[in-house]
């Protein structure tokens, strides 16, 4: 499955309607969402290439049609123990600025449209502080909207 949305275009379109669209996915018991315009592609797990001395939440890098994309396990980023992925898992590849980053998820659940006004702020003590920048309730429950920029802050800025 491929979602070829231009980030800015989709964002603008959603704003125009006052509706914002998110791709939601599950990781463990949690339900998370990322703006649809930031989603570059969704693909099934394939073995990745580990990087030397990579952090615990990084699974490695994969080949996305010729570009090298890192894959991170948000479960580990939120403090839970990472687990070994299998082919039932799904990688959601998102844009973070100009970088493409893969998020390891258990499954993609839905695409939801939410009026801007229904996005609630995150309580300060929320686990994984800074990682979410909004909460939304939908049919499946509470969705934490991920703040991709904070979550995947650049590593290459200091070079």
């Amino acid at each position: 499955m491929s979602l070829d949305h231009d980030p800015t275009e989709a964002d603008l379109a959603a704003e125009g309607a006052d509706l914002r669209q998110f791709v939601t996915f599950t990781v463990g018991d949690g339900l998370y969402g990322v703006p649809i315009g930031h989603v570059r592609e969704i693909r099934h797990w394939t073995p990745v290439t580990a990087l030397p001395n990579q952090p615990a939440h990084t699974k490695g890098v994969l080949n996305l049609r010729g570009t090298i994309v890192p894959v991170h396990d948000v479960r580990a980023m939120f403090g839970a123990t990472p687990r070994d992925p299998d082919e039932n898992d799904v990688i959601v590849i998102v844009w973070v600025g100009t970088r493409a980053v893969g998020i390891l998820t258990d499954a993609v659940s839905d695409i939801i449209s939410v009026p801007e006004t229904q996005i609630k702020p995150v309580p300060v003590a929320q686990a994984g502080t800074g990682a979410a920048n909004g909460l939304v309730t939908c049919d499946q429950g509470m969705v934490a909207l991920l703040d991709l920029n904070t979550l995947f802050r650049g590593t290459d800025d200091d070079a």
Partner: protein, 657 residues
């Protein structure tokens, strides 16, 4: 066309203008030196002419206007009406060249043109006798027709001349096109065949075309302008005068020289991104080809014939790839030639007479490498001038010629290019360097360092170069920055110094940053690629081959010499294996000589396409990049010297939290 396209074109124009003006400078210098080759004048004329044309096209009227006046003078020179040997002529031309430069830079920066304080335009004009024409700044404005009322019926009589058809015109096409500007009716003098059976070659007739032009008569004028010189066009009732066939007075003559010879080679300017796409594509093809080869090797049914065609295809692909890479190759000359001026300037500023000797300027490297080279080279030359060369008195006291010498050269060595900056100065003052490093806290006062280690201190971040901060190299940019830059390009930086005799800096760089030959190895199921250019040989190891030194380093004895062993498994952070690695690949390193990298498997040699890890992730010490193997998996390209260095230094925490 989008704005960004326009910006691209504008940027391209400025690039070209700068190049042209640089060439112009050279031509004018040749004239100043008494060169009388007419081609020099011609080339100079064309440079000015081209800049003028571009400036007019992009709407830089000030620049175009000045260039026009300049061009008039160059034209006079070209025609022999003006003698370059005449006193003051070349000087004015050189000033005009400088002013063109200033105007181009002003236009590029979006500034107003600097004032012509020196009255240069007047000086230029004075060169051409009789009085030079006034500089035309813009194209003549289109005539405005008085009877510009749309929808009025207009009759046009078109009488094709004898060369009408030969000149690429076609009455039928004219009539077809005329419909778009409101053609209503066509009459032809004589027998009129049906419109679609008109013989287009037989044009010796008069055609009356009646129009109801939606754009008014001006639109018709414009429509007929292109036929004006091969046909007689009469616009009959309401429109006064012929279509704009008149010419504004102009002193320019067409360039009638049948073949204007270009000095030197011809270049085609191609956007780098287009070539990059080509390079990537070739890279992908090589990958596919590798997969194909593997598939045929394993397939039992594969015929000898198909194996042979695969061989042929491989060779062709390799050739294609080499050709593509060659497109990107450029001689280092383009960056080297900026250096003589730098040396001259510094020589004056520092009061140190110096001579720069260039070598191997034609050595070709990848375009991206060239771009990245300018900065480190500039810094190295500065460093050599500032810290390498002594002042003339000291030199003479030491029995050396007062004029110092710096040698900048390039050469190919295998798959790499080696660039050397050597000076015949005093060499590194180790005592001072050490004292400095101690004072900066880079080394402990009681640490014992051998001379080479002391030399290397200058590459350490935070090592300030001079006692007093000079405005030459003491700009807070140290050699560590140079080194970092070179490393980032996949290169190495070394130097050696002989007290009293001078310092030699050497940069080795990959020829290309995009494609290289690699040796694929594996530890467990992880595959890695070693740049083939650094691989010396592969060895089979026995259990007791390694010897441990007191500091824990393992060494290996081969043919009477010892080389260091490098545990790739450990360096990659892989879990300890249950057996000793059976193989080692010997890799040549500049700092530590040959190093035996221990691996489980040597898979083979293949061409690899370098992919960036940094684009989406970040830089990893000791990893030069990544590549995609035939099965689509990613493999890391190892930089063994970098890995060894990273191991020696404490691990950097630079990954995302």
């Amino acid at each position: 066309m989008s704005d960004s396209d326009d910006e691209d074109f504008t940027a391209l124009f400025f690039d070209e203008a700068r190049e042209l003006l640089e060439a112009l400078q050279e031509h004018l210098n040749a004239l100043a030196d008494g060169d009388t080759d007419p081609e020099v004048v011609n080339a100079a004329f064309r440079a000015v002419h081209s800049v003028k044309g571009g400036a007019a096209a992009f709407g830089y009227e000030g620049l175009a206007g000045f260039a026009h006046g300049f061009e008039t003078v160059m034209d006079a020179l070209r025609n022999g009406e003006l003698d370059p040997a005449e006193a003051g002529v070349v000087e004015v031309l050189q000033r005009a060249g400088d002013r063109m430069h200033a105007l181009v830079e002003a236009a590029a920066a979006g500034r107003d043109a600097p004032a012509d304080d020196a009255g240069l335009a007047a000086d230029l004009a004075a060169l051409t006798t009789p009085a030079a024409p006034k500089a035309a700044t813009a194209a003549p404005s289109p005539q405005n027709s008085a009877a510009n009322t749309p929808e009025a019926e207009v009759l046009c009589r078109v009488t094709p001349g004898p060369s009408f058809t030969e000149s690429g015109h076609d009455m039928l096409r004219l009539i077809r096109a005329a419909r778009r500007v409101g053609l209503k009716d066509v009459h032809v003098d004589g027998a009129l065949p049906p419109l679609d059976q008109v013989d287009p070659t037989d044009c010796r007739l008069s055609w009356d075309l009646s129009f109801r032009p939606p754009g008014g008569p001006t639109a018709l004028e414009e429509f007929f302008a292109v036929y004006g010189h091969t046909a007689q066009i009469e616009i009959l009732p309401s429109l006064p005068g012929p279509p704009r066939a008149d010419t504004p007075p102009d002193t320019e003559r067409p360039d009638q020289s049948p073949v204007a010879r270009e000095t030197g080679d011809k270049y085609l300017r191609v956007e780098l991104s287009r070539i990059d796409r080509l390079v990537n594509l070739v890279g992908e093809m090589l990958i596919t080809q590798a997969a194909n080869t593997a598939a045929i090797e394993t397939a039992e049914t594969a015929s000898a014939a198909s194996a042979q065609t695969v061989d042929v295809l491989s060779r062709q692909l390799r050739e294609l790839q080499e050709t593509v890479m060659a497109i990107r190759a450029q001689p280092v000359k383009s960056v080297f030639r900026r250096m003589p001026r730098l040396v001259r300037d510094l020589s004056q500023k520092l009061g140190k007479p110096a001579r720069l000797e260039l070598g191997g300027e034609q050595t070709e490297v990848d375009a991206t490498v060239i771009e990245e080279l300018a900065e480190p080279l500039t810094h190295m030359i500065r460093n050599a001038m500032d810290h390498g060369l002594e002042d003339p008195a000291t030199r003479e006291a030491a029995g050396k010629p007062a004029t110092g010498e710096i040698r900048l050269s390039a050469e190919h060595r295998g798959e790499r290019v080696v660039i050397t900056v050597a000076d015949d100065g005093a060499g590194v003052d180790r005592e001072r360097v050490l004292a400095h490093a101690v004072s900066r806290g880079l080394v402990g006062a009681d640490e014992h360092l051998n001379p080479e280690d002391i030399d290397l201190l200058i590459f350490r971040p935070g090592f300030s170069t001079s006692d007093t901060v000079s405005d030459v190299s003491g700009r807070g940019v140290g050699m560590d920055v140079v080194k970092k830059k070179i490393l980032a390009m996949g290169g190495r930086c070394t130097f050696s110094s002989t007290p009293g005799a001078g310092t030699v800096f050497q940069i080795t760089l990959p020829l290309t940053l995009a494609v290289m030959d690699g040796m694929t190895v594996a530890v467990d199921d992880q595959r890695y690629v070693l740049p083939l250019s650094s691989v010396v040989e592969a060895l089979r190891l026995t259990a007791d081959d390694g010897r441990a030194l007191p500091d824990g380093t393992q060494v290996l004895e081969r043919r009477g010499t010892y080389m260091r062993m490098f545990d790739l498994r450990g360096a990659m952070g892989l879990p300890r294996g249950d057996r000793a690695p059976p193989l080692a690949v010997v890799v040549e390193t500049e700092a530590a000589g040959p190093v035996a990298v221990t691996v489980d498997q040597v898979i083979g040699q293949r061409q690899i396409v370098l992919k960036s890890l940094e684009a989406n992730y970040g830089r990893i010490e000791g990893i030069a990049g990544a590549t995609i193997l035939g099965d689509g998996q990613v493999a890391l390209i190892l930089d063994i010297p970098g890995l060894m260095e990273a191991q020696a230094a404490p691990p950097r925490q630079e990954l995302m939290h």
